[in-house]
């Protein structure tokens, strides 16, 4: 059963303060958080959060597509790396993480 719309998205209050502080500092930094249950809000776009997975903080670069999801979705708690095989990755521009 989904959450009632009238309540609005859930987010731990301290995240908003941390996000504001990071944005105003303008530094390239990772905000360490433990709140996996919080919803990703539009004002978090462009910031990098370190979302705790029970062992360490996984860097999560927030983009527009992630708004509405929970932070915990991007920080798995179980280890499965799979096989490297022929997979490849493109180094993305750092504007998202540097925008903070």
């Amino acid at each position: 059963m989904s959450r009632s719309v009238w309540k609005g998205p859930f987010v731990d209050g301290y995240l908003l303060k941390k996000a504001d502080a990071s944005r105003s500092s303008g530094r390239h930094e990772m905000i360490k958080i433990w709140s996996r249950r919080s919803t990703i809000l539009p004002q978090f776009v462009g910031l990098t959060f370190g979302v705790y997975n029970g062992q360490k903080h996984i860097p999560v670069n927030v983009t527009e597509e992630m708004v509405g999801h929970k932070f915990g979705e991007f920080s798995p708690t179980r280890t499965f790396y799979g096989h490297t095989s022929d997979r490849k990755s493109k180094r993305s521009s750092g504007s998202a993480s540097a925008a903070g």
Partner: protein
């Protein structure tokens, strides 16, 4: 750089005509057939896929020289490798095979050693480079971006990493 890359693994036999299940690890699973003969882990055996068809969550492969179930049973769990040279060259600048990045030395802009790249991960929020410090157990993760990884020198086998400062 890894000379050989694991691209697939045989599973259980399928039917009585020597067909075998095959789990492909390649980006496009069906591309496994295009890599030509596949080698076992020790390189002693080579397998040529004659036919490949998709099943539920795997492929069913018919191999050259494997004609009955008994022969197919002996292949169970064998991992299949191809030479790194057989991967097609990447034309897009700034794109790298994970196999090439794993094993690079990670250093800071000042030249201080951070460790060795152990994996490229993606949990849905962009690619991450996992770095294992020398003698350390806890790994470090940095986004695979121009800001965090400003330079990759494949010839020197090193990657310049700009670790994120952490704030609570």
């Amino acid at each position: 750089m890894n000379d050989r890359i694991c691209v697939a693994q045989f599973g259980a036999p399928h039917g009585i005509r020597g067909e075998v299940r095959l789990r492909s690890f390649t980006e496009d699973p069906a591309a496994i057939k295009t890599y030509g003969p596949l080698e076992s882990e020790d390189g002693s055996r080579r397998f040529t896929i004659e036919a490949l068809r998709p099943a539920k969550d795997h492929f069913v492969a018919r191999l050259a020289g494997i004609g009955d179930r008994d022969a197919a049973e002996k292949l169970t769990n064998i991992k299949l490798y191809v030479s790194r040279d057989r991967l097609p060259p990447i034309e897009d600048e700034g794109t790298y095979y994970h196999a090439d990045l794993v094993g690079l030395a990670a250093v800071t802009a000042d030249g201080n050693a951070l460790g060795t790249v152990t994996a490229i991960l993606n949990f849905g929020a962009g690619d991450l480079v996992e770095i294992k410090p020398e003698g350390g157990s806890t790994t470090l993760m940095v986004p695979f971006t121009d800001t965090a990884v400003p330079e990759i020198d494949m010839a020197a086998r090193r990657m310049v990493v700009n670790p994120l400062t952490e704030t609570e």
